[in-house]
């Protein structure tokens, strides 16, 4: 029995919890009635389940006739479907506060992904394509040095998570903008690191492009709307006080 994937999942949960704790001290989603931690965990489980089902169907394995296979997560999880299901769960569970919840979880989600990627250390799964760079690593007994690509991804996601958390705390971003930024960062990091990963297939690059583009476009629109509404407010002359009737 192998527990290295479980370790990676625990690393992800720990990083997510730590980010939520750190942000809570800085007023993250302070007026939100829902527990961000509960929403995050539910979204992660739903995403994992849907992603696993999608991977099984994609491999031609019927989940109904092979239900026990569903729990063999190492057999593969379809990243794109998993992400869609997780995002959908957040938006549904958030109810009327869905964008507050999504924004509240944005940095924590990136931190959780960073933790998940760093879990490669427990299963000797950090290495990618061969490289001559000074920090390239070789697996035991091998002369081939390789990019520690999962650690690159973990570092970039951690930087993104921290930057987003600081922006949320200090920058007063418009509603939905942190969630859009998180989507763009997650997609962007996968696009940057994917060429350094070894895989049997080209990987679901379409999903990564979709996440990056949707997140970036949404972010630009939200920031532009905030800017134009601020400019409009500033340009509107203050209401003239009513002239008081003379004696």
């Amino acid at each position: 029995m192998e527990f290295s994937l479980l370790f990676a999942a625990l690393m992800g949960m720990l990083a997510m919890w730590a980010m939520l704790w750190w942000e809570a001290k800085r007023g993250n989603a302070a007026d939100c009635a829902r527990s961000l931690w509960d929403v995050a965990l539910t979204a992660a489980v739903v995403g994992l389940f849907v992603g696993r089902l999608a991977a099984m169907i994609g491999d031609g394995v019927n989940p109904l006739t092979n239900p026990k296979d569903i729990i063999i997560v190492r057999g593969g999880v379809a990243t794109g479907w998993a992400a869609l299901a997780a995002i959908g769960t957040v938006l549904v569970m958030g109810g009327k506060e869905r964008w507050i919840v999504a924004d509240g979880l944005s940095a924590a989600a990136l931190a959780g992904l960073a933790g998940w990627h760093s879990g490669c250390l427990a299963r000797d799964g950090c290495l990618g394509t061969s490289s001559e760079l000074p920090w390239a690593l070789a697996q035991e007994g091998s002369a081939v040095t390789r990019h520690p690509v999962e650690l690159y991804a973990a570092a970039l996601l951690a930087i993104g998570a921290f930057g987003l958390a600081v922006w949320k705390a200090r920058g007063r971003p418009p509603l939905g903008a942190p969630a859009a930024a998180a989507l763009a960062i997650a997609g962007g990091v996968r696009l940057i690191t994917e060429p350094m990963r070894l895989a049997l297939s080209a990987g679901p690059a379409v999903w990564y492009w979709a996440a990056f583009l949707v997140g970036t476009v949404a972010l630009i629109i939200l920031l532009w709307r905030k800017r134009t509404s601020s400019a409009t407010t500033a340009a509107t002359p203050p209401t003239q006080p009513e002239r008081q009737a003379g004696p």
């Binding site: 019927n62 026990k68 057999g75």
Partner: protein, 159 residues
């Protein structure tokens, strides 16, 4: 409603009935014979130890099939069925490896993986450089990244 639709979609994905008529009987193999096969191989070899009753083996089978198709001509793929019978093994092959270029053998007592330096667990995946030099032994279900990495390693040691 969602669950009903999901169940209908999943049910349409395929049934459990498999036709084993196209799957030949698996030749029996011993540890010494397998070591001779590996030593004679000019190509790197991925050797997967599996059983039809092994649930994790089922989950990694599609991945191995894809890898065998992708690296056909560069890497030899061998499957060793252990502690199993012909009928179970053939049904498994018909369901999960119908057209994959994998040479399957039957090792009813389960001696081959022990002779190769492995253990009694399944699944196991051995990665060999040409002429039987063991590069890596992976115990348990293998994931895509690990499989791709180890295939890259054994290809790097070729010629």
């Amino acid at each position: 409603m969602f669950i009903v639709i999901l169940a209908a979609v999943l049910a349409a994905c395929g049934g459990s009935d498999v036709d084993v008529s196209d799957v030949p009987e698996l030749p029996p193999v011993t540890g010494d014979e397998m070591m001779a096969i590996l030593a004679a191989s000019e190509q790197p070899v991925v050797l997967n130890v599996w059983a039809s009753w092994c649930i994790p083996c089922r989950s990694e089978a599609p991945l191995l099939e894809r890898a065998a198709d992708q690296f056909a001509g560069e890497v030899t793929f061998i499957g060793v069925n252990v502690r199993d019978g012909q009928s179970g093994a053939r049904e498994f092959i018909a369901e999960f490896f119908p057209d994959a270029p994998i040479d399957h053998y039957l090792d009813r007592p389960g001696d081959v993986p022990i002779a190769l330096g492995g253990n009694t667990g399944v699944p196991l995946t051995f990665f060999y450089a040409p002429h039987g030099e063991l590069v890596q032994l992976h115990s348990g279900v293998i994931d895509e990244r690990t499989l791709a990495l180890q295939i890259d390693e054994i290809l790097a040691r070729t010629g």
